[in-house]
């Protein structure tokens, strides 16, 4: 959790993000004007139903939009990578948790407009992602070691050469191997002397780095795990590998897209604990995408509730859960069964998410909302603050001035 003494700088800011998908029935506005900040070191939960655009929002940070091709239609995602620690200048001290890096005044970059080259330098290094299903997100035909090595080869070439005892200006096929820029015939060159020895040294260093990264996630016997294939591991084990891979380069921001949804409940708690511990140690910010409210409540500092491509409510976890201001948020919370819920009394929000082809100029929750009035069907509410850091997009708290304002006291359905 965020301590009060730390200046709450933003590691990333999303402004008016719009992502469209071309479909046969028209343009789907999957994400339609989303704005939020991720503060340095915090965990921001992004909750909502399936298809509300939360995954697409998360993937926008890495510009990895799913097929059919998503179009980044507008907005900006500015990201401020950590700079070298001012106290120790990169050597690693207590202040920067031995990462050698800390939030600094580095110029933010707009992730949506930088070149693909620059984007690739950020992917996996400064911003990493954990996927929902580790069984699908690991390549079934490559060993764990081979897949983990790729991160280090891509972003830690200098450290790798250093560990292998090779000069930093190593060139030729060895260099191309260490920087993961293979050329035709390199494999053959590296198989025979004189390069063979250097290749072996690199492999030893690489294995060492992979083993260290795996050991961080408390897997038993990390060195042996390297030669295994993903299908030989359990789901929890695979997700640990994914986490080790994502956190290998100490990213400043971690996008966790429902990392425990595909796992057994018994494994879930341990994986969450692991993410939390690693995150706190490294001062990594996390965007935690989930549909599980109770889970978000447990691990997030702040929560953003998404509905139909928009953020309808955002605030600190305490504020949102103690005093939800949007009917949708209330509906979501009511839908979570507790130990006290009587048999057969499960609450559901009636209706379904509207189709996002040509979104209407009304409140998107209108039609499902128990408190809706004529105002809600004529105007589109925007996200406005109700207190401190708590904002909501609803006419209940922000009436338009007309007589017909909705209220939590009046159920209109």
């Amino acid at each position: 959790m965020l301590d009060a003494t730390q200046a709450s700088e933003n590691v990333a800011s999303v402004r008016d993000l719009k992502v469209h998908f071309q479909s046969k029935r028209g343009v789907v506005h999957a994400v339609d004007g989303v704005s939020f900040d991720i503060q340095d070191g915090e965990t921001l939960g992004l909750v909502g139903e399936t298809g509300c655009g939360k995954s697409v929002t998360g993937r926008s940070f890495l510009r990895l939009l799913p097929v059919p091709p998503g179009i980044l239609a507008g907005g900006a995602v500015s990201f401020r990578p950590h700079g070298p620690c001012t106290a120790c200048e990169g050597a690693g001290c207590e202040a920067c948790a031995k990462t050698g890096r800390r939030a600094s005044g580095d110029q933010p970059v707009d992730l949506l407009s930088i070149s693909l080259q620059d984007m690739r330098r950020i992917r996996g290094d400064r911003i990493a992602m954990i996927f929902q299903d580790p069984g699908k997100a690991l390549n079934p035909t490559l060993t764990i070691g081979a897949q983990m090595s790729e991160v280090f080869l891509q972003h830690r070439t200098a450290e790798l050469l250093d560990r292998a005892g090779l000069p930093p200006d190593t060139a030729g096929a060895v260099r191309r191997f260490a920087a993961q820029e293979p050329r035709f015939g390199d494999g053959l060159i590296l198989k025979f002397p004189p390069k063979r020895g250097q290749r072996a040294k690199l492999q030893v260093a690489l294995n060492q780095m992979v083993t260290e990264a795996l050991a961080e996630t408390q897997v038993p016997n990390p060195a042996k795990l390297m030669d295994r294939f993903p299908h030989e591991l359990s789901g929890g084990m695979r997700q640990r590998v994914m986490i080790a891979q994502a956190l290998a380069c100490n990213p400043d921001l971690l996008i966790a897209d429902e990392p425990t949804t595909a796992l057994d409940v018994t494994v879930e708690a341990r994986i969450l604990e692991l993410i939390r511990a690693l995150q706190q140690r490294r001062k990594t910010s996390v965007l935690y995408i989930s549909h599980d409210l109770s889970l978000v409540r447990r691990i997030c500092d702040r929560v953003a509730v998404m509905y139909a491509g928009r953020i309808v409510e955002i605030g600190t976890t305490e504020d949102v859960f103690a005093n939800p201001r949007h009917p949708y948020t209330r509906g979501l919370m009511a839908a979570v069964p507790t130990a006290g819920t009587a048999r057969g009394k499960l609450a559901a929000i009636r209706g379904t998410v509207p189709e996002l082809v040509d979104p209407p100029l009304e409140c998107r929750f209108a039609g499902r909302c128990p408190y809706e009035t004529a105002t809600c069907r004529q105007n589109d509410p925007s996200l406005q603050p109700v207190s401190g850091g708590h904002s909501v997009a609803c006419f209940i708290d922000h009436p338009t001035g007309s007589q017909d304002a909705p209220s939590f006291d009046r159920v209109t359905e």
Binding site: R120, N139, P140, H155
Partner: protein, 337 residues
């Protein structure tokens, strides 16, 4: 199960399969006509025919005849070829070498072009390279080989006069030794660049014609497999690591797309073997295919049975190789159960 054990076990089953195949081959050939039909003429009297039949044991029960044939094969006696006017075992290796050279060249063409085109098209789905590949593939799968071969001959041999016909230039062929029977290999062994070029030059057109159809099949399979793999999560996960698109494509997606493609490649082998018959006739290639076509037309049963038996065994072996490659590409495949 260990790979070695698996191969060993499969090889143990092989003889049983071969015996089964040989029975089928023998029966089918006998149904097709008398084995001495090729030697008979209208002027022979029935008693003369009966005498010949008795000399070759054809008056005995069919199963005895089968056993005699099988015994001969085990001793290396594959019968006498009326078409070649020589024992089958003398001619077969020479013809086989010629056909294998052609089939191997066509296979290389198909593998290389098929995988390259398929990858190229799959990675650029619904863009120009994909459309061009589709045209190449559809035409390759639908153009009859005999027509396409003749077309190439008309253009490059008859009109332009740049392509040769047959297997080699006779004088150059005679200038080197032929220990393997594979002309290109022989030329390399003899260190004769002139002979090598002659061999390659003669190979190009038939190999292209033969390989074109297989190229189409492999390219289409590769493309659709790659398109499917590129939609998998692990591809995005690889991109999320910051990998270059080239590596994402080659190391991640293509490797997985090769798994279903390998199966098709194995099947393509039969396609190639079948195609050699047409191609060898068109290009006057002195291989098994042409010999076989003659044998079928003239009822040369000794040759036919050897050919069918041989190709069946070849198929069994190719299937074994495909299974092994398959398991090597995808470790989720367990060999044997």
């Amino acid at each position: 199960m260990q790979l070695r054990d698996y191969i060993f076990r499969r090889l143990l089953v092989l003889p049983i399969l071969i015996i089964g195949v040989s029975i089928v081959v023998f029966t089918l050939t006998r149904v097709g006509g008398s084995p001495i039909g090729i030697y008979l003429s209208h002027e022979m009297t029935p008693s003369e025919v009966a005498e010949i039949q008795a000399r070759f044991g054809l008056d005995q029960p069919v199963w005895v005849q089968y056993l005699q044939w099988a015994k001969g094969i085990l001793q290396g006696d594959f019968g006498y070829s009326g078409v070649a006017a020589a024992p089958v075992s003398d001619i077969f290796p020479l013809k086989l070498a010629a056909t294998m050279e052609l089939a191997a060249a066509a296979g290389c063409v198909a593998l290389f072009l098929g995988i390259t085109l398929g990858t190229f098209a799959g990675a650029r789905r619904n863009r120009l390279p994909d459309h061009i590949t589709r045209i190449v593939a559809v035409s390759g799968a639908s153009l009859p080989q005999f027509w396409f071969g003749i077309l190439l001959l008309i253009v490059f041999w008859a009109q332009l006069g740049i392509a040769p016909i047959g297997r080699s230039d006779a004088t150059i062929f005679a200038s080197i030794d032929h220990p393997t029977g594979l002309y290109t290999i022989d030329a390399i062994l003899a260190a004769s660049p002139k002979a090598f070029w002659d061999a390659v030059w003669h190979l190009i057109l038939p190999a292209l014609t033969l390989g074109y159809g297989a190229t189409a099949i492999i390219a289409r399979m590769m493309r659709s497999a790659l398109v499917e793999e590129l939609q998998q999560d692990y591809v995005d996960a690889a991109r999320a690591k910051g990998l270059a698109e080239k590596i994402v494509l080659k190391r991640h997606a293509r490797r997985n797309a090769l798994v279903p493609t390998v199966t098709v490649i194995g099947l393509t082998f039969g396609f190639l073997l079948q195609g050699t018959i047409t191609i060898e006739i068109i290009y006057r290639w002195p291989g098994l295919g042409r010999w076989m076509a003659d044998s079928v037309l003239r009822g040369d049963q000794g040759t036919l049975m050897t050919y069918v038996l041989f190709t069946s065994v070849l198929f069994l072996l190719v299937n074994l190789i495909v299974d092994v490659v398959y398991a090597n590409l995808d470790r989720r495949v367990t060999l044997g159960k």
